[in-house]
Amino acid sequence: MAEAPILEVKNLRVEFPTRRGTLVAVDDISFSIAPGEVLGVVGESGAGKSMTGAAVIGLIEPPGRIAGGSISLAGRRIDDLPYEEMRKVRGREIGAIFQDPLTSLNPLYTIGRQTTETILTHLPVSQAEAQQRAIGLLREVGIPAAEKRIDHYPHQFSGGMRQRVVIALALAANPKLIIADEPTTALDVSIQAQIIALIKKLCREHGAAVMLVTHDMGVIAETADRVAVMYAGRIAEIGPVRDVIKAARHPYTDGLMASIPKVGRTDARLAQIDGAMPRLNAIPRGCAFNPRCTKAFDRCRAERPEPMRVGNSDVACWLYDAGQGGTR
């Protein structure tokens, strides 16, 4: 990366103390995002991707907490900021888009009110100017007749339109990083592509980097520059999208790619990975994927693999340990 990364996460660890012991939702992960880059974070439900996004924006619900590591935004540490300082970062420097646009918007306020409120909180502009900016934003996200619709309530918009409003709200104060947590999962398939394209276009125009959390590999393939594959709270593989999709190195990623049905293939059965991702209170020793891995060997069961550089990616798999004799 030529410039300094906009987001740098080092050895992040998120824990949930429960009555029966501490659950580790995110276990010592490290990654970075370059300015303007789209990083996809992909994985099954429960892999820890949403939790990572929540940690970055500082909205982990108690009793969960960040138990270790650091998160830095443009070189400045943000994981240990007091609440009020972090509040200023949110919205202004980091924006968020959540999964369900219907529940993300307060039904009792007009979208204009909710937009201008966000603008006024972060930017030193007048009410009138905030109003103008709000209308401009709505136009940008593709809402027709923005000057009229600014006084409408959320329930007067369709699902796709609402998500556009949410995107406008996330971009309202011109943040440098957007965390998009499953932004299209709750939408009709026909609209998903539009919304994803919109996010990509706007972020590029505004110069914002995106951390795109999803379980949909297709979205990643369309949109992301790099992708991180998460499994059981850890990063299995992280690298450029082309590399990870076309030439997956980690056995888990390989299994994921193989299990996506491809148009034109006439194989009889869909490939699948046997077993299921372990629950947080039953993570195996060593590499978390080892019970399901067809290529596992002794070391996999004993030691947890560190991310190792292979080509342009980092892979956490003992298969690629140079000392072990390289790739098998």
């Binding site: 039904p107 009792l108 409408h152 339109m161």
Partner: protein
């Protein structure tokens, strides 16, 4: 909008008729009014003459119609016990009950809502826990016992407040008010406090639980993710959304005040409708019971109607049924 109002009005009229029907059934078929009026010795002719005079030999629907018509005109018959027109008795007693109830409702709202908001926002402070404990005790204390305890402390031991009656009242037209005299106000204190306590705890717990629900929603999470200030999040968004359902339920609580007024008036010998009702139950004074039922039913129906209309005004989702939803 008009359609909604008309529909609700019609519904209310129907419910009123149902209540009137029950009241009428009480009046006409419970006990034998003729027997009660004639006393011990009477001849068959006297019985039958009285039956004709009272119109009790008419068909059922005719009697019901006459009942409804007289009720609308304020004519409820004669009290068995006191041999005076029921309407007059009610007119005398109504101001006392209404003043007491309004005072109690006011107290319950102005103390209960802030307490509820506070315990919702600051869940773990000691003050919150204190309020919650008090509220639990409040719900378990029967109203009459509270009254007795207050009388014991303030009237018997300390001697600062009167333990029964209304004090001096001033007549304004047909309304007698205790607000304008010191003795009237002093007499109002203990009964109003007694009456409001139960409602206060209910309102507080309701507001708190609504607040907690609202604080867990996605739109609050999104508001925080946009970096809105705490004050805006808690009072601008959370509070407004909390109060909407609270309004309706509070309106319905007025019913509780009317019901518990019966108890309070008995404890303090407050000359209101509740005391009248209990005395009539004790003495099988059916006309008074029937009239009370009608009146209370009327109050309830009116309150329900007002609450529905209020909800309609406050929640935009109900207002616009032909939304301008369009496009994607």
């Amino acid at each position: 909008m008009i359609a909604f109002v008309v529909q609700r009005l019609l519904q209310s009229v129907l419910v009123m008729l149902a209540v009137a029907f029950i009241s009428f059934a009480l009046f006409r078929y419970i006990g034998d009014p003729v027997l009660i009026m004639l006393g011990q010795d009477f001849t068959r002719e006297q019985y039958e003459m009285l039956v004709r005079d009272l119109g009790l030999d008419q068909p059922f629907y005719v009697q019901f119609a006459k009942f409804v018509v007289s009720a609308v005109q304020g004519e409820f018959g004669i009290s068995y016990r006191l041999a005076r027109p029921v309407a007059q008795l009610i007119a005398e007693r109504l101001p006392a009950t209404l003043e007491l109830s309004m005072m109690a409702a006011l107290l319950a709202l102005t103390i209960g809502v802030p307490m509820g908001v506070y315990t919702g926002l600051r869940r773990d402070s000691w003050l919150s826990r204190f309020f919650l404990t008090i509220s639990l005790v409040g719900v378990s204390l029967p109203t009459f016992l509270i009254g007795i305890l207050l009388i014991l402390v303030f009237a018997v031991q300390l001697g600062v407040l009167p333990s029964f009656g209304r004090g001096d009242v001033v007549k304004l037209g047909s309304w007698s008010t205790g607000f304008l005299t010191t003795s009237g106000l002093k007499a109002l204190v203990l009964p109003a406090v007694t009456l409001c306590l139960f409602q206060l705890t209910l309102i507080m717990r309701l507001v708190r639980s609504e607040m907690l629900e609202v604080l867990r929603t996605d739109y609050i999470k999104f508001a925080r993710a946009r970096g809105l200030q705490n004050r805006a999040v808690n009072f601008g968004h959370a509070l407004k959304n909390t109060l909407v359902p609270v309004i309706t339920i509070t309106g319905l609580q007025i019913g509780g005040i009317i019901a518990f007024a019966i108890v309070t008036e008995t404890v303090f010998q407050w000359p209101g409708m509740g005391l009248l009702f209990i005395q009539s139950v004790n003495n099988a004074d059916v006309p008074v019971m029937a009239a009370y039922l009608l009146l209370v039913g009327f109050f309830f129906v009116v309150i329900n109607l007002v609450v529905d209309l209020l909800y309609y005004v406050v929640d935009p989702r109900l207002r616009i049924d032909r939304g301008a939803a369009s496009g994607h």
